[in-house]
Symmetry: C2
Subunit: 204 residues, 2 copies
């Protein structure tokens, strides 16, 4: 945005700093800055403190690579979990969604990324070595690949499947098919094609 | 977003705090938090400091109501400005756009809002009294209303025009018409209608 006005330094610094947020350009950053200063200075102070607190207080869990305050996170230290199952997800948000399904009692590994060759993100950038070490601890029997069903997620799953199967582990992938509760008319053709290919016998 | 995982406190606090940003819901807040923690902790620390700095270091200019570090902002203290002209805008962003046109050498008044009766924002919430005091300082001769050409902006301009004209001030509004550089085919009908109504004789 062109500007001919001499603006106060703290405002310019704040606008620039807000651009570290994903998807926020100069214009959005300005709108956010004006909004916070005019309508919610208390919220801005809280956010400021929360950012510092989170960055200094959180680290990666040694076992699952998710965020935690301790060396090992609450999920990995939970004795009720099935330690023979390891579910690989891209982000903590994905991990939350799997957990919210109430259909899984094993442990997790959070990649915190995915292979994206076009963006220059290869196996080294996603630290696959750490996952390999985790998966070959002798306790894990099956690795469930729950990366996204996007081009990058599929590439990641394909690569990991090869790598983990070579170590003698059972490797599975989340089922693909028609979403629960959806009408066929509104499901895309690719999904229907997969659901047909992976059709299964009815029970009973 | 449903979540069954015990998440570390600083992460939850950060997600909650990010929701003070305009247009950011739980899902975006989570994505932002994960992004900052994983990809840009330095940016997050800078943003944290910038927020505190801006909120504690900035205040409203006594004359124009924009943000400043001093009692009176750099623009209002500029002796080269025409003090008989006062341009009323909704936000500092609008002020920047007027300034970037290089077509104005007068002073500004920033409403930091606009009338929005449907949202319960009336004349008292937008502090019109302060504008009135500023505009009737005996030096200002003309007030240029540069609020947006939206329903709320027009309502605000209409209200202010009445109020200021009653005090003996000349009140003008930004011209409405076909945007510079645009093709008629792609201009909306309402704009063309206004441009026809407010047509003016050619020069020379």
């Amino acid at each position: 945005m062109a500007s001919g006005l001499p603006e106060p330094e703290p405002l310019l610094t704040l606008v620039e700093a807000l651009r570290c947020l994903p998807g926020v350009g100069v214009r959005s950053a300005r709108r956010m800055a004006y909004h916070l200063l005019q309508r919610d200075p208390q919220g801005a102070l809280k956010l400021g403190a929360a950012l510092t607190e989170a960055v200094t207080g959180l680290r990666h869990c040694e076992r699952c690579n998710s965020f935690t305050q301790d060396a090992v996170c609450a999920t990995c230290s939970n004795a009720d979990r099935d330690t023979t199952l390891l579910c690989v997800v891209e982000t903590p948000a994905d991990q939350n969604m799997v957990e919210a399904s109430h259909g899984y009692r094993g442990l997790y590994y959070v990649l915190q990324g995915r292979l994206a060759p076009l963006e220059g993100v290869g196996p080294d950038q996603v630290h696959f070595a750490q996952l390999l070490e985790r998966a070959t601890d002798g306790v894990v029997r099956e690795v469930i690949l729950a990366t996204n069903f996007t081009a990058e997620g599929e590439t990641t799953a394909y690569y990991l499947a090869d790598m983990l199967r070579a170590r003698g582990l059972t490797v599975t992938r989340l089922a693909r098919g028609v979403p629960s509760g959806s009408e066929l008319e509104y499901v895309d053709a690719g999904t229907i094609a997969w659901a047909l290919m992976e059709r299964r016998p009815t029970q009973g």
